[in-house]
Symmetry: C2
Subunit: 277 residues, 2 copies
Amino acid sequence: VDQADLCLVNGESQNRVSVADRGLQYGDGLFETLAVRDGRPQLWDRHLRRMAEGCRRLRIQMPEPDLLANEAHRLCTGRGQGVLKLIVTRGSGGRGYGPLLHSSTTRILSLYPWPAFPTQASQHGVRVRFCETRLGINPRLAGLKHLNRLEQVLARLEWDDPSIVEGLMLDQGGRVIEGTMSNLFAVYQAKILTPQLMGCGVAGVMRQRILELLREIELPCRITQLMPEDLRRANELFLCNSVIGVWPISHLEGRQVPGGPMTQRIACALQGALERA
Amino acid sequence: VDQADLCLVNGESQNRVSVADRGLQYGDGLFETLAVRDGRPQLWDRHLRRMAEGCRRLRIQMPEPDLLANEAHRLCTGRGQGVLKLIVTRGSGGRGYGPLLHSSTTRILSLYPWPAFPTQASQHGVRVRFCETRLGINPRLAGLKHLNRLEQVLARLEWDDPSIVEGLMLDQGGRVIEGTMSNLFAVYQAKILTPQLMGCGVAGVMRQRILELLREIELPCRITQLMPEDLRRANELFLCNSVIGVWPISHLEGRQVPGGPMTQRIACALQGALERA
């Protein structure tokens, strides 16, 4: 977003915000990351619904969906493939945690180039590690894609081997929760499991879409507590988010994950469903 | 900070930062809040030391102390009384949690007017409540004055009665940790206690100064685990931070706190020590 024409702040082409914005001062806001294909943001309605739910929980005034849609359209149309990041913050305020009475939500839309993902990640899978940085437990923030992301930043700083693409994070109780930028599914003989996000973690839009898909194609999936040793017993593991779609995990902590057919089946069904949408 | 002349971003008089700044994107930074008296920031060296320690723990490049001192001087000299907020962030980066290799720390200095505190808070004490929002436990972030402050924002949103000046926060285990913007001390017959901050909380500069003072004047103070019922048994309770100094708590959850002599003695000794510094 060095180019101001790829960024809109409250509807204006610019790439700067006020120092007084509570997004900067306190991380007092939310964000969404959307895949853009053929100039159109994907899963728009689902991302907007999650943002509205986050605004409700944080008591931030949600911007008008039509306004956001118009701004996304201005930014994305004709741009082909990319990543749209949508940030809302509680707006500008004075010093101190209590918000001003009349502060109004800040909207920031930024269009980024499509990331340089490892080639064939979707086919051959990715190498993944466990992070030492753990997620603090706070049910009031759990599930939200809020702007307090220091835990993910510290986790991502733990490795610089470019062949490792993602790190899995545990919570303070040692339960597996998610990747730094993705959600996790584990496939067993007769069931599929994904971590419960009641205490921490981000309830990803793609995770939710996959949960619904698994119901549609009648594959039983259970949201549950998962420990690291549960992952070692899995037949297949895969990651998901709105930009990558589905990535099989080929190696966890250097050990090969069996992998294969079920992840491929789910990825294909998902692709079909997204193309029909 | 609506006036750009009261704000410096990387040494330039302006009140805007890049949308790409990681302070906004992830809360990836730290801050300090300093009292300014006679145009001079108070406890400067201590605040800088804490910021340097925070930068070390978050692996952010600490700006040169002389550079920060010069910028604070430009902003504060001749301004009398005020509050100086110093923010450092990991700088601008692309999308994604991994920082760019060559990003450089952003420095933001803002001078605010002295807050409109309740009159005679230092003499007569303040009314305080318990917040329902709890602090998540994360030893990797504990003690730091970082920019991930949604828990404090949510806690401060819990009340709007202006006669209540501060809210005490518990951690997920129900231990008392601190106020939303202050640290806490509890005075008993033969000892003074203050909460341990190994799992969460901000290790305040004024808290640290008071701990040293108590050692100097040979009042025994122990850093320990404190539960809400421990506060109800206290003879005196007081809050502290760099701007308010010491505030006795006059009422906790509507119930009067005995209060008195020891807090006054500590506040006087502190004032003497700060004036000599």
